[in-house]
Structure formats: C-alpha cells, structure tokens
Amino acid sequence: MTRRDPAAIAGFAVALGLAGGLTLAGCGEATGAAPAGLPTSATGVRVAGAWIRPTPPITNVAAFYLRVENGGSDADRVVAASSPRCAEIEIHQTTTVDGVASMSLASDEQLSVEPGHDLVFEPNGLHVMCLGLDEPVVEGEAVPLTVQLEIAGSLTVDAVAENR
C-alpha cells in the first residue's frame, strides 16, 4: 500500500477545509501524482499509473499494473477488469514462498481499498492478467483497460506499454 506524501496530505486537508468536503478536483491537484483527465468515480476513486509490459510475439498472456487510489470516504473493492485486447482477464496475486512463485486468484481482501489508501498492482505481486491477448503489445502503445469496482463502478484508462 502506498501512502500519500505529507504535502499531499496537507493539500488534501486544505481542500477539505475550503470545500467543506471532498472535491475531486482538490484531490487530483493535491496528489499531483497523475495527469489530469484520469477518470474518477463519483465516489472519489480513480485508476492511475496503468502500464503493461510489451510482450514477445509468441505468447498471448500479459499483465497490467496500476494503482487504484481511493480518494473517497468509503472502502471499495476491485471486482473485475476487462480489455478489448484480452479474451479474458483474471486478477491474480503472485505469492513467492521459498523462491517458488505461484499465482492465485486474488481474494476479496487483497482487492479491497480503504479510503485514503492506494491498492497497488505491481510486478511479482498483484496483477491484472490478460489471457488470449489478440496481438503482441508493442512498446509505446496504449492498451485500454477497464477496472470495475464494487461501489465506484467502471473506470477505463489507457495502460501505456513500456518496459520497466
């Protein structure tokens, strides 16, 4: 879980004080972590920093990584994801025990995000697995990804294809 930095917290507090409540614009400006225009739900949840690793032509699986930022006041939970590029998507958690990596469907608990917290999908951890990828992901392209949350509903972003 990534915590917001103190400046962001301060900015958030100021936004709260001025507006007398959470404003989406205030939240976005306060964190400054993502470009403007990221879709944000009415409940203050947004998906930021989405990326996907370019894929070798001979495979048809891939993984999306992203951050679900809950700037709202209620807990929420990722329930599904989809992309026009993937026949199927599963949300997985990689667990490494004694060097052995295994993947399992992420649990409800692993996909919950408390208010003020981020749910981080990153390599060797939580990831959105794309099965039946239609064609190789090429560095630099944008791959649409829709993340569905229990309360916030669906948020669609472009995942940037890059090697990190």
Partner: protein, 235 residues
C-alpha cells in the same frame, strides 16, 4: 607546487603593489593575492585527486556485497546437456567458461514473474560495460515442455535480449535439471479453456566464470543490483 602558479607579468611591481590606494591590504586583489589563490587551488586540486585515488583503491579492495545469495563451494554447476536449444544443439555449459551464465526455469505463458525477470535481466545486461555484457549469458529452461519447445523459449527470451537463449527437452530431462538446480515446479489444474498456470521457482541462478553456481537471486532483485552482482562475478 610552483609550476601551478601563473608566470608573473614583467610589469609586476611586487607584493607592495597589493596595497590599495587607501593603504588597506585587500584580499585576493593584487597579483600576489591571485598567486596565493592559485596555490590554494592547486593544493585543493592535488588533494582532491589524492582523495579520489584513495577511494578508488579502497573500493577496489573492499569485497562486493552481493544482493543475491552467495553460494560457497566450487563443484561445477549441474549439467544441462540433456536439454537443447531451438537448433537442436545440446546445452553445453563449457561454452561459457570464463563467463557468467544466468539460468532461469520458467514458461512462456507466464504473465508476471517470467517477463519481469527477463526484462530485469535484459536491463541489467544493458547497465554493464560492453566487456562484461559480452561475457554475460542467459539460458531459460522451460518447465512447460508440452507448450514450449526450445525454439519457442528461445524466441521468448530473445524478445528481451537477442543474446538470451532458450532450452527445453523431454519432461524427464527437465525434471532432472530442475531438481539438480533445486528448482521446484508444478502444473496447476487446467481451466475450462485448457490453459493452466505453472508454479515454479522464480529465482535466477548465476554460474560464475569458474563454472560453479555462485549466486542465486530472487525474482525481485531489480536490474541495478543484478548488474552490480554480475560485474563483481566477472571481476
């Protein structure tokens, strides 16, 4: 030290000229002030060179602290000769004498750990100087031979770095190699569409220039630490 000083101009009247019109001596204003400054600069420069040289000596003497787990012992790395590359050539670790070989067991339908590890390994090679990069190899062995033949694994790793090589072979040979390298793997139950995941040891094993397994890295080692360890193995 004197050779660092600028030559005096012929018209230099000497230190007394350093006194300003008011008779007050002004720092660093006249030729001798400049000279002192130059001398000081020279001293600082020489000292700096000395410090840098001393640091270089110290750091070359200090043993590299590996990020990966270092293995003791000098028995040769387990043979992979029962496995072959895509062109049918058996994997002969002797081809890499005097070089580093990273050995990885994975599969090409792996969405997270394998591509992350291969991308990190490729990035690490990119961080090495040309000589070290030239002497760094990677062989990925498939733990999913039903879906991966050696050519496919080779194409897979070649996507990340054209120098990386892929190997596969009969299940029994893969089992023997995996077990010799302390690698565990198991195929998961297929899903409705027949696809399945494979649990596997996601570590990178580093065979040193002497031909024995020297370092084991976890899959989250990252390119910088991996490159530093490889450079140390090659030094």
């Amino acid at each position: 030290m004197t050779d660092l000083m600028p030559p005096r101009s012929s018209g230099d009247p000497g230190p007394d000229a350093n006194d300003g019109p008011s008779g007050r001596r002004r720092f660093n204003d006249g030729p001798s002030g400049r000279r002192r400054f130059t001398v000081a600069l020279g001293v600082v420069a020489v000292a700096a060179v000395g410090v840098v040289a001393a640091l270089a000596v110290v750091s070359s003497l200090r043993p590299h602290l590996y990020t990966g787990t270092v293995l003791q012992g000098d028995e040769p790395a387990p043979s992979l000769a029962e496995l072959a590359y895509g062109d049918g050539t058996p994997v002969d670790l002797a081809d890499f004498d005097g070089e580093v070989v990273l050995v990885f067991f994975g599969y090409t339908n792996c969405p997270d750990v394998c591509p992350t590890t291969m991308a990190d390994a490729a990035a690490a090679v990119g961080l090495l100087d040309d000589g070290d990069a030239e002497r760094t190899n990677l062989v990925m062995v498939s733990v999913d031979p039903d879906r991966d033949d050696a050519a496919k694994v080779g194409e897979y790793v070649g996507f990340f770095d054209p120098g990386f090589r892929g190997a596969s072979g009969p299940v029994e040979a893969i089992d023997r190699a995996a077990s010799a390298y302390g690698v565990f793997y198991q195929l998961n139950e297929p899903e409705a569409d027949g696809s399945y995941l494979v649990d596997h040891t996601g570590t990178l094993m580093g065979i040193g220039p002497d031909g024995s397994v020297r370092v084991i890295w976890s899959s989250d080692v990252g390119p910088e630490a991996l490159a530093a360890d490889i450079a140390a193995l090659l030094s």
